[in-house]
Symmetry: C2
Subunit: 417 residues, 2 copies
Amino acid sequence: MTYDTLLYAHSGGVTAVINATAAAVIDAARQQGCRVGRILAAHRGIAGVLREDLFDTTTLDAAALERLARTPGGAFGSCRFDLPHDDGGAVMDRLFAVFDAHRVGWLVYNGGNGSMDAVARLQAEARRRAHPLQCVGAPKTVDNDIVGTDCCPGFGSAAKYLATSMLEAGLDIASMVGAKGSVFVMEVMGRNTGWLAAATALAAAGDADRPPHIVLVPEAAFDEEAFLARVQAVTERLGYCAITVAEGIRRADGSLVTEKSRDPRGYVQLGGAGGEVARLIHARLGYKFHWAIPDYMQRAGGHWLSATDREQAAAVGRAAVEYAMQGRGGMMAAIRRVQDAPYRWDVVPVDAAPIANLERALPPEFLAADGLHVTPRACDYIRPLIAGEFVQPTIDGLPDYAGFAGARVKCRLPPWA
Amino acid sequence: MTYDTLLYAHSGGVTAVINATAAAVIDAARQQGCRVGRILAAHRGIAGVLREDLFDTTTLDAAALERLARTPGGAFGSCRFDLPHDDGGAVMDRLFAVFDAHRVGWLVYNGGNGSMDAVARLQAEARRRAHPLQCVGAPKTVDNDIVGTDCCPGFGSAAKYLATSMLEAGLDIASMVGAKGSVFVMEVMGRNTGWLAAATALAAAGDADRPPHIVLVPEAAFDEEAFLARVQAVTERLGYCAITVAEGIRRADGSLVTEKSRDPRGYVQLGGAGGEVARLIHARLGYKFHWAIPDYMQRAGGHWLSATDREQAAAVGRAAVEYAMQGRGGMMAAIRRVQDAPYRWDVVPVDAAPIANLERALPPEFLAADGLHVTPRACDYIRPLIAGEFVQPTIDGLPDYAGFAGARVKCRLPPWA
């Protein structure tokens, strides 16, 4: 049996450029000529592989592929599913049965920390079984928290969106300054790390009088009194105060400032930290307040992509196909920063096993000593990642997006219970 | 004494294109040649006039004016201040003292319903006093609720931002559909009207399966049971449901679904309706939920302006100067829709007095019969207003905005108590 099928799957939260990676994988695989017989994509990540729920990408012509590459969200669907450790190998058996049924010789898995664990384990399992599968990881996450890569595709565009949003909302609130003082709080994603919150600091361009005046990140314990004192000082000086709050901020005792819900696997959905902080300010200082929660908008802003991020998303997709073809399964296509200014980068393979399930936090040198802002070094790191614009074609004033509307692959196995 | 000063002031919530109006006013006044001696701008609206807090715009060169015109927020500051009726004329006396002290012969007042009341009353007062002042209104509000104009500058850009946001967040949530069903709620501005909420319907392009699946507006009473039944039906069909919630939605008894705070003047700050609705769905139907509150971001999105809106903002500014010069005080520069498709419009003068303090709601033919969406006619009305993009110059990946940093005019009167 010839294992000449390449399978693409993504997992976890989607981004504004994840489809750019998907399109690059498909395009790079097509360029392999007859070596790659079929290019499939899993519907809803690894869970779709389990269900043998696969799409055939053959119907995507060049124009459709170009449109797919600039459409936010994950066109093939995503999932939150970790490979179990305690199922006696049933999931692993099923996955390899699906690989066999569809002659999958190459798997490009596009995801975050959890997905890199899957890449490492699938490749180890393939070796154990002497199976030809080459499984390669392509990083993606707006949280920018994957170890082993200088940055993560998806982050640059979300960072650009949030820095722009803080810049713009800051101009608005500065116009509306009244006698009594007002605050604006923007809650951003990032889970346990403050990369996205730090990105909003680019809006201030190093000027302490410009928004955001305070940036709260999970890496610095939330000290209510020190925070309120700063809010008051800024508001008395400028008439207003603009604050970025990462969704995952914690108190010194490690407790989250907010937790929205927790699923049976223990996956905590964060949300509400911005509202909590805004209400705290109002209760303690009496200021008028507004808060914004960009939520999904921050990771789906295809109308305002970082051109750099989009290029990197495509590059890791192309590299992942290349590594898979070279038999370098178990690797992740990582972005390496070659030079800061002018910014230069390339893509290199790194072993997925040691980085799986880790989480990269903001390093101490990116945090202001008082824990209420980030440093110029943090801005220097993020600045090149938001550079460049990508002009979306529009129809009637809205971006001309298109997802995937192709055919399902016929199942060859009994349904997965 | 020659009244050869033109004064510009804006009031109320700012928009992404209010500075386009300001810049057009300044430019049009300059083109009057020596007839206009000085062009001043009030710091923080009519309250700034009272305080004799005025800027001299002479320092704005052509490049600075071009940058100002594409910068969101109100460069000269805004205020929420209504002319009192019960102060024995003290405020009116002071305003005319300031006009006299600075030889103000023309006042362009850029604002919403309340500002048009000020335009009408100031002009009536000028006539009573046989004062040469010509006061003309230029409309602006993201809420689109001013009577007498087909649309309001500021609305088109906010509408484009929100429709794009719903389109993009909708692609994201569609990717993340899980077994249990999930909902996404986006809370939008609009105060007592549903124009901005209606704009998000453009994202669905008439397809009942595309987000937003439900649009809640203040003009249709919020019926909890009918709403929940629809959320459930959509979620069972598609796996998810995307919902737009106007901040000002009310129950059949007229009570607001939420009210954040109320200031001493009775001005109610709305906020939280989206969270209320999301929590209601979770409590009653058990679905996972996300909600977004774009807040100031929706009215400050200079990176994604409607080119049509920007043109209209400049056009009402130019027309207001023209009407003032022609001695047509008491008028508002209104936008008239000449033709639907292809869209054609012009600017005409309308009397500010009969429209002051009114509020234009969505007409019944724009509301779906079940009160849970808007009609294709609503979309046909809004579509041309979001058309066209404006490319912002950027520096390091962020829009190159600049507010106003000019000189204050020397005070000639005793301070206002």
